[in-house]
């Protein structure tokens, strides 16, 4: 017994808790944001057969819709002790879903009707991306916005004198993503429309022959993708800040997540989001912190440097880029056997 306590005392608690905060929690947070975006990208690819490059800006737009609602009803969350942005997020999700349907009707549907090749629609989505970035800057400028985080509650889980720390927006983000994953699973496997979406993704010609209305499937796809994008954007902005160029740092990891997970596979996108998120946090983590407890056991000639990270924090963006290239070279169908993105 005494020996057990002794062993426990020898555990580098400080360092382990630091690792949990910096890698596990941080990975879950950024992974959740990527997952919420990647699900939309993968659903759109599965059903409409094109890579939607404007998806990052869909997330930014969703966050700005939430910002507008917060400006209109700044005290919406007070009664619940939650951030107003979170309480009003469903409204932003609805508006973004409608906005996504509008974008489709205005830009992508006419191209589909003209039976153009998918790459033409990809080009159109890049055009939409540039247009949305311009519009967002036109209305919001280039400054940084801060959501009021409401009660500013911070959850602390004490572990032998150290705390695992989670802010309320972070907890909301993780819980929301988990619930969204469950809801999406139930929708795709239990409901008529969810199954029809899988059918169209599987075999669009046969879906049409079966009398499935492709138009309503396309509409539900945009509703889900738009709503989850708005949620991801809002929750990310709530955790950090809202900038008009939010999409710039997020679109590459999201595509990496969708491709790692297997394009067209919603669960793959969720898993891929987490994978990319954790890889990023592991890559920028300062491993020398974990090595420090070993110092007494190492000979003097071995110095532990102050900073050992695979990638300096400011170059974090190369991580998803590397994942993307590695997957495309070695496993182009992704871990969940999706389509090869063309």
């Amino acid at each position: 017994m005494e020996q057990g306590v002794g062993l426990l005392a020898a555990l580098p608690v400080n360092e382990v808790v630091f690792f949990i905060n910096k890698v596990v929690i941080a990975g879950l947070i950024i992974g959740s944001v990527y997952a919420l975006g990647a699900v939309g990208v993968t659903l759109i690819y599965g059903i409409l057969r094109f890579a939607h490059f404007a998806h990052g800006d869909m997330m930014t737009a969703g966050a700005f819709f939430a910002l507008i609602f917060v400006a209109l009803f700044p005290t919406a969350g007070d009664a619940l002790g939650l951030p107003s942005a979170f309480v009003l997020m469903p409204l932003a999700m609805v508006v973004t879903a409608l906005f996504a349907i509008g974008i489709d009707k205005g830009f992508y549907a006419p191209l589909r009707a003209a039976k153009v090749r998918p790459v033409v629609i990809v080009m159109a989505s890049i055009g939409v991306m540039l247009m949305m970035q311009g519009l967002i800057r036109l209305f919001a400028g280039t400054g940084t916005y801060q959501f009021d985080a409401g009660s500013k509650a911070i959850y602390r889980l004490p572990v032998m004198g150290r705390d695992i720390i989670l802010t309320q927006p972070q907890a909301l983000l993780i819980v929301f993503t988990a619930l969204a994953a469950i809801a999406l699973h139930l929708f795709l496997t239990r409901t008529r429309m969810g199954k029809a979406m899988r059918a169209v993704s599987d075999n669009p010609d046969l879906a049409r022959v079966s009398g499935i209305s492709i138009d309503s499937v396309v509409r539900s796809t945009w509703v889900i993708a738009g709503a989850l994008a708005a949620a991801g954007g809002t929750l990310l902005a709530l955790d950090v800040t809202l900038k008009p160029d939010l999409s710039f740092n997020i679109i590459l990891p999201i595509f990496a997540a969708a491709i790692v997970g297997g394009v067209g596979q919603p669960y793959g996108a969720m898993a891929g989001g987490m994978l990319v998120g954790f890889t990023e946090t592991l890559a920028v983590f300062n491993w020398s912190v974990l090595l420090r407890p070993l110092r007494p056991y190492l000979p003097d000639i071995i110095e532990i440097p102050n900073r050992i990270a695979f990638v300096p924090t400011e170059y974090k963006i190369v991580v998803p880029f590397f994942i993307l290239i590695a997957v495309l070279i070695w496993k182009p169908t992704g871990i969940f056997k999706g389509r090869v993105l063309k």
């Binding site: 008529r192 059918a199 599987d202 075999n203 079966s210 009398g211 209305s213």
Partner: protein
């Protein structure tokens, strides 16, 4: 009265016509079989009928109603069902989900129909939770036909239902087609195995060059020495 009447159908892809005047007529509860050499326009005829290919001239009447160039969604509601030759299941969806997708347009409780399909194709019942893409060719064909039956069609269109199947499965699929027909569903199918198919046909259509060359009952066509010589690979 004829259930289906296709009169002088012309159509094709782009500028080139593949169909140059096709006439098909079958009554309710009949089995119609379309045979002919490669490139005769057999599958194209089914596609033109099912709204998957534009008819440029001629008319299609189904159940007394003109349905020329109606979209597939509309034709499914009218009581037509189509089983394509290839890619005719949803591969990642389970057998049962494939059948449910066949019943997509229905708002009623269609479980009895799923049981009816399992009655026609007992092997599917055991495999109902398996993804259709993992089944053997013959069983996939059963799923495809089962899916098409879920709307309770008046007329079932089958594009080469026995293509690529072993003789054992071929016989089984033909037996099931007869059984489905006896349950009150009209059948119009394109077949490469012309002799076997004409043997069970009430109406046979021999196409060549996008036109009808011979039309008659299955027995008449099988007995016609010219049909045998030109289209059935010589005599007995």
């Amino acid at each position: 009265m004829a259930l289906l009447e296709m009169n002088d159908i012309h159509g094709g892809y782009g500028g080139t016509n593949i169909l140059n005047g096709i006439d098909i007529a079958i009554d309710a509860d009949q089995i119609g079989v379309i045979v002919g050499p490669n490139g005769a326009g057999k599958s194209t005829t089914l596609k033109a009928l099912f709204g998957l290919l534009r008819v440029s001239q001629g008319s299609v009447a189904f159940g007394g109603k003109t349905v020329t160039n109606m979209a597939p969604e509309g034709l499914v509601r009218e009581g037509l069902s189509f089983v394509p030759q290839e890619f005719n299941v949803f591969p990642t969806m389970s057998v049962q989900e494939n059948l449910e997708m066949g019943a997509y347009i229905r708002r009623d409780d269609f479980r009895y129909l799923i049981d009816q399909v399992y009655g026609f194709f007992p092997p599917l019942k055991e495999k109902r939770k398996q993804p259709a893409g993992e089944l053997s060719g013959g069983q996939r064909q059963m799923v495809a036909i089962g899916r098409a039956l879920m709307t309770e069609p008046k007329l079932l269109l089958l594009d080469e239902p026995t293509a690529g199947l072993s003789p054992r499965y071929m016989g089984e699929i033909f037996d099931r087609i007869i059984e489905i027909n006896k349950s009150g569903v009209g059948i119009l199918m394109v077949e490469q195995n012309a002799r076997q198919a004409l043997a069970l046909a009430h109406r046979g259509f021999v196409l060549a060059g996008g036109r009808n060359r011979f039309t008659g009952t299955g027995a008449e066509l099988l007995a016609d020495p010219e049909v045998a010589r030109s289209f059935l690979g010589g005599g007995e």
